[in-house]
């Protein structure tokens, strides 16, 4: 825990430098004012997420609890979502509707070392651990998501503390996080409500009907595919699911459901991002300013734990 105030100070200094747009310390030679608006790369985002987990873990252990630094679950090639219907025939052939990847993620959560540790604690300790992690009550921070949902969270606890150490202003970061993580749900909902999507779905349904799969929408066929898992033994369920997935994707390609929904997704993506551009830009600035601290936290951690820590 001794390192946390230092880290927090560094983050505050970085932010101060950023806000003033002036010269920060030598460590910020890359300059937040130059990098500030740029979206962090996938690698940089991973460093930031990992640093946050390391800081949470340190904070929790200073409070007498265990919190393992785990890695996000990654399913090679299988982790793709098709919110408007499957439209990739090769993918459908290989993964069906992605049920296997879905089950793997659910199992990974059940096997998560933090979950296992938490559930083994006596009830009283569990309450204390939860409070140490996320504060006594989820109030203090407020943000409204682009989907219309209003969320609150505590300013106390190790999650908030780790985020403050990295990003400085907990209220701003909470808002940025809530807004950016809900851009895609907001964008997908706009596509589904568009008349051009509905029309493309109607033509897709005609194709499905002709192929002997009379489903009115991709939601319905997905529902039917999931029901197969209940009705058939596993091997036959997988084969039946894949056959339906391939038909769905073939119809999405031949009727242009895929093309139409991709075009709408692009257009509404731009619209939603434009509407929230201030928070998106603020998020990038906060992330870029936090990067030097995050890199230091991660490399320090990796030096002290040669195995790289606990990977779920």
């Amino acid at each position: 825990m001794a390192a946390a105030p230092v880290v927090a100070l560094a983050a505050v200094l970085a932010l101060a430098g950023c806000a003033a747009g002036g010269t920060a310390g030598a460590e910020r030679a890359s300059g937040p004012e130059r990098a500030s608006g740029t979206e962090p790369t996938a690698g940089q985002s991973r460093v930031l997420a990992r640093a946050e987990q390391i800081l949470i873990s340190r904070c929790m252990s200073a409070r007498g609890f265990t919190y393992a630094v785990t890695e996000p679950v990654r399913e090679e090639g299988a982790a793709r979502s098709f919110p408007y219907g499957l439209d990739d025939v090769d993918w459908a052939r290989a993964h069906g509707y992605g049920g296997r990847a879905e089950r793997a993620a659910a199992e990974a959560r059940a096997a998560d070392p933090n979950q296992l540790y938490f559930h083994r604690l006596p009830a009283r300790e569990r309450a204390l651990a939860r409070t140490a992690l996320m504060g006594a009550s989820p109030t203090g921070l407020t943000a409204t998501a682009p989907t219309g949902m209003t969320l609150t969270a505590s300013k106390e606890g190790c999650i908030a503390r780790a985020q403050s150490a990295l990003y400085g202003d907990p209220a701003a970061w909470f808002r940025v996080k809530v807004v950016t993580m809900n851009l895609r749900p907001a964008q997908e909902e706009r596509v589904r409500r568009d008349g051009r999507y509905a029309e493309a779905v109607r033509r897709w349904a005609d194709c499905m009907k002709a192929a002997g799969r009379p489903y009115a929408s991709p939601d319905d066929s997905r529902q039917a595919a999931a029901a197969l898992a209940e009705e058939l033994p596993p091997d036959r369920a997988d084969a039946a699911e894949t056959a339906l997935a391939v038909t769905e994707a073939t119809c999405a390609t031949s009727t242009e459901l895929g093309r139409v929904s991709r075009a709408l997704d692009r257009a509404y993506g731009e619209e939603v991002r434009a509407r929230h551009q201030d928070d998106i830009a603020l998020g990038h600035r906060l992330q870029n300013a936090a990067l030097p601290t995050a890199e230091r936290v991660v490399s320090q951690y990796d030096r002290s734990t040669p195995s790289g820590g606990s990977h779920a």
């Binding site: 987990q53 949470i56 919190y67 659910a106 959560r109 009550s137 895609r184 749900p185 999931a226 898992a229």
Partner: protein, 137 residues
């Protein structure tokens, strides 16, 4: 919001859930006090605002809120009015909720540790949820 005929992935998802029988809480044992009783690492939803009324808590995913999960028959489908994600987990600590059973329709995401009353556009509409990382897969 829309009702579907059949239940889904429940079989596959119930399996990991069974690993923590202690974590599966019944609607009757609804935590009235947000600060203590619900310290179970679950994603909680309540039928009333301000975390009141009948409740469902899940340690895993649930594709169909017509039952709360293994052992709890309360029907939370299209009823939830407030919620709290008090998961104790780094990976897969955020929650994505969906309008339809089997993760269909409109959706919205809530980070680990957050809570809220559900606004009118979303009130009594949510039907399934899954744990995600940063609202991803």
């Amino acid at each position: 919001m829309r009702k579907f005929r059949t239940t889904v992935l429940a079989c596959a998802l119930a399996l990991p859930l069974l690993a923590f029988p202690g974590a599966l809480t019944t609607a009757a044992a609804a935590p009235a006090d947000a600060s203590g009783v619900a310290a179970d690492g679950n994603y909680w939803v309540w039928a009333d605002t301000n975390r009141g009324g009948p409740a469902c808590g899940w340690s895993g995913n649930d594709a169909d809120w017509r039952t709360c999960g293994a052992g709890n028959d309360y029907n939370m489908n299209d009823r939830a009015s407030s919620w709290w994600n008090n998961g104790y987990s780094g990976a897969l600590g955020d929650v994505r909720v969906y309008e339809d059973i089997n993760y269909g329709g409109a959706s919205t995401c809530a980070p680990n540790g957050s809570a809220g009353n559900i606004p009118w556009e979303w009130n009594d509409r949510i039907s399934s949820h899954k744990w995600v990382t940063n609202c991803g897969f």
